[in-house]
Amino acid sequence: MNAELGQEHAAEPVLEARDLVKHFPVQRGIVFKRTVGHVQAVDGVDLELHAGKTLGVVGESGCGKSTLAKLLVGLEPPTSGSINLLGQEIGNLPQRKIRPHRRDIQLVFQDPYTSLNPRMTVGDIVAEPFAIHPGVVPKDKVTAEVKELLDLVGLSPDHVNRYPHQFSGGQRQRIGIARALALRPQILVCDEPVSALDVSIQGQVINLLERLRDELGLAYVFIAHDLSVVRHIADEVAVMYLGKIVERGTAAEIYDHPRHPYTQALLSAVPVPDPELRGRREEIILQGDVPSPINPPSGCRFRTRCWKATERCAEEVPSLDVGDNGTRPPVSHHHPNQPEGSTHPTACFYAEEKDVTHAVK
């Protein structure tokens, strides 16, 4: 798997973010507003997405995942940094000029109950992209195109005249996906697309997303807090903590060879499906809460909750490269699955692999 990844990096990424920063000003006062601080929602995120691949972004609530999604689709202008979409810079464009690029990147929402206008028929909802971009499909073919889209996401094309409240959560999410796909984007940013659904429905929607990726050659940025869902769908995984990516690697690297203490803590919290093995795995319980993003800790942002933290962590900000200085030898192409081989980027001075996923008898 690692070897395969090495070759893909030669191709140009479809979506690339460099040093992406989003700070929201915190203002006080009613008439004369003064800025008293900034919420550092996203603070220096780099990511790359290749055609047909899925990048999973995991992290706990409030770590900036949703803000990252909004930045990537151009709903929020970044404070600084660049977003490169299909070779074109969109990070610094005004809203008006982003409009043509919106056809290439679309967003799938978390909550299917609020993301569809309750007063529009399904036909109108799915046809709205064509109404906004009139050149895409000739007017007389819109109805046929809408029906085709509904068919593509596994809904009956006869449902065009129904309203969203007549559908279940999973079906609504399919409608949302059909709307996002209408303009034939190359990239879908999925912001927790299944976390509002029943577990039994989650699988169906995930399978639909996988099928669409293979059929249409889509690339996904898949944001979730459910680690097992991400593991299932993602090729590469980025772990976020308080606006920064702390570890990045292939799904196998992250899940089987986590190196950052935060990743290890996250993974150790995933429930073990086998009752026999429950309790036989080391569980890392983090102390304290996530610090405020208005006033994040100096140096490494995780240090306030980390059991490995030293003075160095408070003084220096670890970049994703520092973890590479670990003691492990570099990966060899002859033994791609060798457990010792993982040196994927980790933003920790004391990165060390620790198996927290597998419980042993």
Binding site: F109, P118, R119, I132
Partner: protein, 307 residues
């Protein structure tokens, strides 16, 4: 696409939309049908008063004053005569046109101003919101009567109005200027509530322009509180106009309105001439009721969940 060819008929079943579906639902409700019939009756009276009476409201014979309508709907004076001996049915029927024109034009202007300012204030926020909201505050503190009196004193010098526009325009302008704030506030609140919903974000993400978002996504939500206040406002406009008429700055004689009849009727109602007060009141109540029913049904019809 060529514009010269006639549009081909839809091969599939017609695509339904919110407004089409709403209309279809409303058509089936009996209360809507009754309300529509009342509205039709009132509007016909306003448009063609001669269909309902052959008397002139200005031909008054003093010796016939205050004849009770003993014959009810037939005879010389179907609804009796008023305190000056004018045929009451004719007065009432001829008063409908100024009343309805005034009430509807005030309503339409106030709703339009209110919804436009409310959506702009709620959607853009910031400076635009500050300006509009402060303007609303200013207009709310000026009492309607005081403002209307001040404003209408500008029209004092005019002679007797000889057409509908001159009769209705001054009170209509005065009432509209002091009547739009309520709609602005309701619309602004609904807009603020709606604009951060996911489906609005989805539309923005698709590249929808502000205008599209405001009309397609926010307006249907903003209409709901407005439909609820329209009928009651309609009644209060008619009553407020009568107050202006008492002060001599409303609809000027010889033209008359339901409001004027109501305020005149109150003086005689206690003396046994209850019809002078009761009949215009009944008409007013029926009209307000039909608008209320219609607005209520429209609100339900615009909410797919209640259909």
């Amino acid at each position: 696409m060529s514009e010269l060819t006639a549009p081909k008929p839809e091969p599939d079943t017609a695509q339904s939309s919110l407004w089409k579906d709403a209309f279809r639902t409303m058509r089936r409700r009996p209360d809507v049908i009754i309300a529509s019939l009342i509205m039709l009756f009132v509007f016909t009276m306003a448009a063609f008063p001669t269909l309902f009476t052959d008397k002139s409201p200005t031909r008054c014979i003093g010796s016939d004053a205050r004849e009770r309508p003993d014959t009810w709907f037939t005879g010389e004076h179907p609804l009796g005569t008023d305190q000056f001996g004018c045929d009451f049915a004719a007065t009432l029927v001829h008063g409908t046109r100024p009343t309805i024109t005034l009430a509807l034009s005030v309503m339409i202007v106030a709703v339009l101003i209110g919804m436009v300012t409310g959506i702009l204030a709620g959607y853009y926020g910031g400076v635009i919101d500050a300006i509009i909201s402060r303007a609303v505050d200013v207009f709310i503190v000026v009492p309607l009567m005081l403002g209307a009196i001040l404003l209408l004193s500008l029209f004092r010098g005019r002679g007797a109005p000889d057409n509908l526009f001159e009769t209705v325009a001054p009170p209509a302008i005065a009432l509209a200027i002091f009547g739009w704030m309520e709609f602005t506030r309701y619309t602004r609140a609904a807009t603020i509530e709606t604009k951060n919903l996911d489906y609005v974000t989805a539309a923005r993400c698709l590249g929808a322009k502000d205008r599209r978002i405001m009309f397609k996504h926010i307006l249907p939500n903003a209409i709901i509180p407005v439909t609820a206040v329209i009928p009651t406002t309609l009644g209060s406009i008619i009553v407020a106009e009568s107050a202006l008429a008492v002060l001599g700055i409303g609809v000027q004689p010889p033209a008359t309105s339901w409001g004027v009849l109501l305020s005149n009727g109150t003086q005689w109602a206690a003396g046994g001439y209850i019809y002078l007060f009761g009949i215009p009141l009944l008409l007013l109540i029926l009209t307000v009721f039909s608008f209320a029913t219609f607005g209520d049904a429209l609100r339900d019809a615009l909410d797919p969940k209640l259909r």
